[in-house]
Symmetry: D2
Subunit: 353 residues, 4 copies
């Protein structure tokens, strides 16, 4: 990646995912945190003061000393990581792309747009080519918007991809047990999660069902062709800080044994591993053999939170296989996903200094 680093701005930098961006960018070899944008209220203050830091340890001195910029100040950095809330991110992201910025968004607003890549580097790196379509269609010179999926979709689809490639998947039932941090901070009230489960997360089931089809589909140069996979999701919020756990039942096109499924999961490597991207986990999918794993508290930080952890791969009485998958929702499920997207596009020449 050479000696040159690209400057980075984080939008929504004081929020939960914003803090994770700042944490993960500390000593990044190719990206240099240069600007942090916050709300009107926090603008003008040092990041250390504006931000109620809730990651482990403290932000780096370098980040802590940045002055938080007002949402309407101009963005100077070429690379932009956007963790604005869904619903208000769309216009900002498109405007920045139009102004020549490389925008990596964790918001839902532009994910399903016809010319915006929804990208997991291991899964559909070929979709990056849609950037050219986007630039042409929207008249952007060099800027673009690339998005990463929803936090529960990412880990599901990482686990589905090698199975999809090897055997085909007709149907997928998934029930999620999602962590509190998926809703940001303050997010879910503690009275909702002490001695309790909430069997509903607004919009989440629809995101999982639609994003999966885009991710497993192909981009033919002109359009995204959605994958023909039946999806049914049920989402729950559980009293866990970090780490989404999901139980999955799969009906395959070509039947396979649990052992064969484990084999393709374990063998899976993809473009980020080939390119040796700094944030890429050596093994995108880790399969555990113990009956009672993966568990959020014990396994979410494996591979620095960038892998998906699969366990309990076994036959399904009704379909072919069932299993559980776990992943860190604010690292590989959000900020880390976005940073890996940037690393891949950098390596593949979509971004110049």
């Amino acid at each position: 990646m050479g000696n040159m680093k690209l400057d980075v701005a984080v939008l929504g930098a004081t929020g939960s995912v914003g803090q994770r961006y700042v944490e993960l960018l500390e000593s990044h070899p190719g990206l240099q945190l240069a600007e942090v944008f916050g709300s009107e209220r926090s603008a003008g203050r040092k990041y250390r003061e504006a931000c109620d830091w809730r990651m482990s340890a403290a932000p780096s001195e370098e980040a802590a000393d940045l002055t938080v910029k007002h949402p309407e100040q101009p963005v100077e950095s070429p690379v932009v990581f956007c963790s604005l809330p869904g619903g208000i991110a769309r216009e900002t992201e498109l405007r920045l792309a139009s102004d020549g910025h490389y925008v990596f968004s964790n918001a839902r607003d532009n994910r399903m747009a016809d010319d915006v890549p929804l990208l997991i580097p291991e899964v559909n790196w070929q979709h990056a080519k849609a950037i050219e379509l986007q630039q042409k269609a929207r008249g952007y010179s060099s800027g673009f918007v690339v998005t990463n999926p929803n936090c529960s979709t990412i880990h599901l689809v990482l686990a589905l991809k090698p199975i999809w490639d090897a055997f085909g998947i007709e149907r997928c039932f998934v029930t999620t047990l999602q962590a509190s941090s998926g809703a940001g901070y303050p997010g879910v009230p503690s009275l909702d999660l002490i001695d309790n489960v909430v069997p509903y997360i607004g919009g989440e089931e629809e995101k999982i069902e639609s994003e999966t089809r885009k991710l497993l589909g192909d981009f033919d140069g002109a359009r995204f062709n959605y994958a023909d996979i039946g999806m049914s999701a049920q989402c729950n919020r559980v009293p866990v800080r970090h780490g989404h756990l999901e139980t999955v039942n799969l009906g395959l096109r070509n039947t396979a044994t649990p052992a064969e499924v484990v084999e393709v999961l374990r063998a899976f490597r993809s473009r980020p591993q080939e390119l040796g991207l700094p944030s890429a986990p050596p093994q995108p999918i880790i399969v555990m053999d113990q009956d009672d794993r993966p568990q959020p508290a014990l396994d979410r930080d494996v591979a620095r939170g960038m892998a998906s952890i699969v366990g309990r791969v076994r036959e399904c009485n009704l379909l072919d296989v069932r299993f559980a998958v776990l992943g860190h929702n604010t690292i590989r499920g959000a900020a880390g996903a976005s940073i890996l997207n940037a690393e891949m596009l950098m390596a593949d020449g979509y971004m110049s200094a």
Copy 2:
């Protein structure tokens, strides 16, 4: 039920489900707690001292003053509620039945036996007839063993029954989020459930899958014919004290809309309601309309823990309907289930004083 009460012995009375039996039998109109049996260690002590009482409030004075009997002391009461651990209950239960006792068991050991009713009064009260078969086959004069299902099976099958009757069910996927008390006390270590989920409960998936088929099947006078329903279960333990929550996807024989499903759930009444049994909930299934319900902390105690609470009934993209069901696992899911069984058999003349 007349003025006459039947005397009751509780086996395993100091344990978690045993305590629930004692609590629920307080001021019961037809059953009188007369004997409590415990381990060798607790035998000979007053129940109040032998027992680390963990229900709300305190045991009744009457119960507290009972002296805990040794497992090998003779049982004098005609009715026996058994909450011995699975694996050691079988012989005890059969011996007591042979001696003329009416044995109601919460243990798994005899549930799937060919001549033992596995009973949910609202679901398969007709199975009680197998008692005659059992008595004949085993040479019992008046005693018998009747079992109730596993705690997660009961609430699932209560919710399935009206749908099964109205539309038929071909396939059922279920993922459970089960409470800590399902494993008894001490049960699950706190380090396994603070900020964590355990995606495994030994033997539980098999129980749900097999018991459901017996419960929804019929008894033809000579044998149990298991229901032809495909079952696939995935079980998780979550940081909740009481209340199992389950997400369910159903493929029906005759398709139905969510509204039609809600209608049959709400209209469901069965034999315990007709008989007006003391522990019967007026409405066995309560359907909530709010998006984010049922929740364990808020809804498990509805109808004194004897109903199943259903919510989020909606179309399934892949099958017909999906929904969530919640129920109290140690009341309707264990001790209360057993007591309701006894009430029905009493009303139906299977037990004499």
Copy 3:
């Protein structure tokens, strides 16, 4: 209390403490819920719809059918229970008192005022006489404002009162472990209380320290004379739904053994018990003997949440005694406290229909 009921309005009725008022007033023998006031947003809607009900079960049909009134609509009921947030309650309460209403407030705003009783019926029922002073000083004809203490103060002071009377108390160190519901709903974010403790509750330590001195002091007809007791409090928020636990160290004026302290705690009865008020616990203080009690999950609902539960009374190496006290923070610690105040003033002739 006769057959006549007094009509009641609840201000802030859709909030956490407001819901508790509504729950506790159901079938109250002397008070009839007649009006519920909410925010601008909820005004005009039925209570059942305006309110995200989070008590067990559902609100009574009667309450659910009330139409929520706008904060600026006139209050018609003679009795007003106020659970408006601290900071905005003061003027409303004084205006209503001036208009002739009997105002019972759970807000902090008027608690420490020179002519407002801060009342725990068992502790300082004599302070009710300050109502006359208040009416005279402020020119109220028949209305008044009476307040109840902060939720952690109430249970501490209930436990202190018999000791204060019997032996005198020079110094009190208290560390609280407070439940989530003490902060209302949405209140404390779940990320702050999953696998965590927050060693700070804004303003709480000051409230405990100052309110205790007013409560244990006397009212001499003209002014409140604060008790001469040294107080030092440290407050923590812990992952518990309901029930504040407090560890206490006491230095007495006249030394006493733990057994003597237990004796006066157990013997304690006061005016609400003499009057047989409907919400009065038969025994205001319950002392448990087991080493590891009281515990919030097991003991908070004892005596319908209206008693204080004391345990671990033992010698202190540095002072005289130390112990733990637990109490339900939204029942006896808030709405129930307020209702008991109303019951006593009704019985004592301060309120007429």
Copy 4:
């Protein structure tokens, strides 16, 4: 520490603290994990199989490949870390010392013995001299037993030490909020810690009160002279995985302001920092300025779990200062404490290869 590493045996290696020893010894510059001892049941199996590993990630390959030894097999390594349960550790430890081993114990059994150092390197490194006394008194040639304090004592006394040195301390009240892992695994049942606090930990208060006096006392070459400090502790178990939080009130000999106390805490450095020991935190005590810190979930891992984190230093109404202190209970509170003891004695020439 030279290039030479000393071989290490861990007793109780499959337990909770045992696993922490194994984790912390991975790539240690001066200590080489050579032997793991377990129970009879686990003896003969590979560590990876015998051990239900519950630290983050997995044990090192090197550790995982060790074969667990039977408790009665001879110990070959010169250095022994002992995490046997209290009550059964005493004889084993003394026998090993007698056989020439350097025994570092986390068990309570020998802590208060007249010739056994109870050591926190920053606090009372001079007590190491008692080793000579011990060897002479007991006839050991080169072996010895050195102990570290109880997990809640360590963090308390680290925070007390600079204040003790600067101002003297007459009295100390402490209330603890202790994490689940302090009781090991399986330890505390989840039903005791979901939505609950247990206001009792057997023997803990006595340990805090007695160990503190030994730690702050001096060793005069012939005996330990206990510090003249009044101690009163109240201990609670809270629903937290790791990290004990303690609220402290101090009466000083020479009064000091909170600012002066903060100053001495921040300035504190001691022998481990001077020696640059590998596990020594650069700053043994970290003082946080934010009102609501330290918090277990956010701050327990600061300085790799080896520091004590102090916050809310403020005046006490009754004594001089009050504050909260937090520390990781199985790192600096147990295994890390023991390893730091070994590092210091190695540097100071008490151990030879």
